[in-house]
């Protein structure tokens, strides 16, 4: 940063030299890491210990900087403008006598906090520099170059409890009790089968006919087979009714179910 006098708000913008100087600084804004960094840099021009920095003066310096940026039509990032607004507010608070009705922090508190922030940032900068100045591994000191691999030997330990053992034995000795369930397909009439049958038969069903009469031969006597066939055919006629191919009726509960071909 140039040594131009930034606290001087009277800088003559018409002077080419001043303009150039201002531009140099403004262009430098890219080099600042945010408004706090800019404030820290500005505070150095006061050439005092950070603890004794005049926050009022600093606020003015900052506002001058922002105004110059405006004159030069340089866009500042939003956080620089937020800081400017806040510093303008702080500056007015610092200049005006304290409002007795305001129970918030005093202007002095706010100024002190800003000074603390600057001091802390400065301290962290110095700490970072000290850290980086330390001896570093791979630069000043070195680790072992020729390492030996530690062979990992995996020892597997198997465990089993008495319970595992007993359960295992019980499992074997009771295995014979289990007979896998096999579906007895001989006595099952599927809905698909029934649907196929009924499709072929409804052409003849001009009049109301009992559903029972449609059951296939050999399925009407044995109760198991009859139940299966009835259920399958009932499901099939519901499907056909849904498609609008037949009509279904039943006089009352448990009365015979009758079907007929839907009249065209």
């Amino acid at each position: 940063m140039s040594d131009s006098d930034w606290s001087d708000s009277e800088t003559n913008d018409d002077s080419v030299a001043a303009r150039l100087a201002a531009e140099a600084l403004i262009v430098d804004v890219d080099g600042f890491e945010g408004p706090l960094d800019l404030l820290l840099t500005l505070s150095r021009t006061q050439k005092v210990d950070l603890r004794k920095v005049s926050v009022l003066q600093l606020a003015e310096q900052y506002l001058v900087f922002v105004n110059k940026a405006k004159v030069l039509r340089i866009e500042l990032a939003a956080d620089y403008l937020v800081m400017a607004a806040w510093l303008a507010y702080l500056k007015s608070r610092l200049l005006l006598p304290p409002d007795p009705q305001d129970d918030g922090p005093s202007a002095e508190d706010l100024a002190a906090h800003l000074a603390f922030q600057l001091e802390r940032l400065q301290a962290m900068r110095e700490a970072a520099a000290q850290l980086m100045a330390r001896d570093q591994k791979g630069r000043d000191f070195f680790a072992r170059g020729l390492t030996e691999d530690v062979q990992r030997i995996r020892v597997v330990r198997y465990t089993a409890t008495l319970l595992d053992l007993m359960q295992g034995y019980a499992r074997i000795r009771t295995r014979d009790d289990f007979r896998p369930f096999v579906m007895d397909r001989d006595h099952v009439f599927t809905m698909e089968q029934a649907l196929d049958r009924m499709r072929g038969l409804i052409g003849y069903a001009g009049d109301w006919t009992d559903l029972v009469s449609y059951l296939p031969e050999g399925w009407e006597v044995d109760p198991t087979r009859r139940r299966s066939a009835t259920a399958a055919h009932f499901a099939a006629i519901l499907e056909l009714a849904k498609r609008g191919q037949i009509e279904v009726r039943q006089g009352e509960t448990f009365a015979p179910i009758q079907i007929r071909k839907k009249p065209e």
């Binding site: 995996r154 597997v156 595992d164 007993m166």
Partner: protein, 225 residues
């Protein structure tokens, strides 16, 4: 970082090396550091090149080698080059044992259970009870775990070997003898079995008495149940 120990005059000496070789002790330190950090053995020639002008690595190496005699690492010559290596008697430290606990497989548990309940028991008998072939690995594993061992051969055609459980087995499962294994009735009472009727003759625990049952006779008793 505690640099206190490092001789403070060392860096100065290093700077003086423009005019004179550093003292032998310093050369020794330098070689020690170079050999330590190098990924490969370093030749005498390279040491010469890396040490300050006028240094005599050969002489410093002799000192350094002596310094590491009897230590955990030693300075060894590898061809033309030098390197630090672990002392041979400490090679065992370069192993790291990790113990992994694993559950025994179902096949192994069932095989073990059959041997425990029916010992002495041949492979054919195990297979008959389990209804599947017993893999060699399963038996080997149980033998390796020292939970089963070979018993006396059965006096039947082919004289098949038998398996019995070991003391280790009893130890591991907290049993005084294999006879302490609970029978099926007790298993059921403990809720380990379905509470339904067992096939005939399966109600009780087979009385495995290894000593007496060594012969085929005792076995047939067991399996006819």
């Amino acid at each position: 970082m505690t640099n206190d120990a490092t001789p403070t005059e060392a860096p100065q000496e290093a700077e003086q090396s423009l005019f004179a070789a550093p003292p032998l002790a310093e050369q020794e330190r330098m070689i020690e550091a170079i050999l330590f950090a190098s990924a490969e053995p370093v030749t005498l020639r390279e040491l010469e090149a890396r040490l300050p002008h006028g240094a005599d690595p050969a002489e410093a190496l002799v000192l350094l080698r002596r310094r590491y005699e009897g230590r955990g690492v030693r300075l060894v010559k590898v061809g033309d080059a030098w390197a630090f290596r672990t002392a041979p008697d400490l090679g065992h430290l370069m192993h790291k044992e990790t113990v992994e606990t694993r559950k025994l497989s179902r096949a192994a548990i069932e095989t073990l259970a059959i041997i425990a309940y029916h010992q002495p028991c041949t492979r054919a008998e195990i297979e008959e009870i389990r209804g599947v072939a017993v893999s060699r690995g399963t038996v080997d594993q149980l033998i390796e775990l020292e939970w089963i061992r070979f018993g006396r051969r059965r006096m039947t055609p082919g004289r098949p070997v038998t398996f019995v459980v070991t003391e280790n087995f009893l130890d591991h499962f907290g049993l005084e003898s294999a006879r302490d294994l609970p029978g099926l009735k007790e298993l059921r009472a403990a809720g380990l079995l379905d509470n339904r009727a067992l096939p005939e003759g399966m109600g009780g625990k087979p009385e495995a008495e290894p000593e007496e049952d060594e012969q085929g006779l005792g076995q047939s008793e067991l399996f006819e149940d």
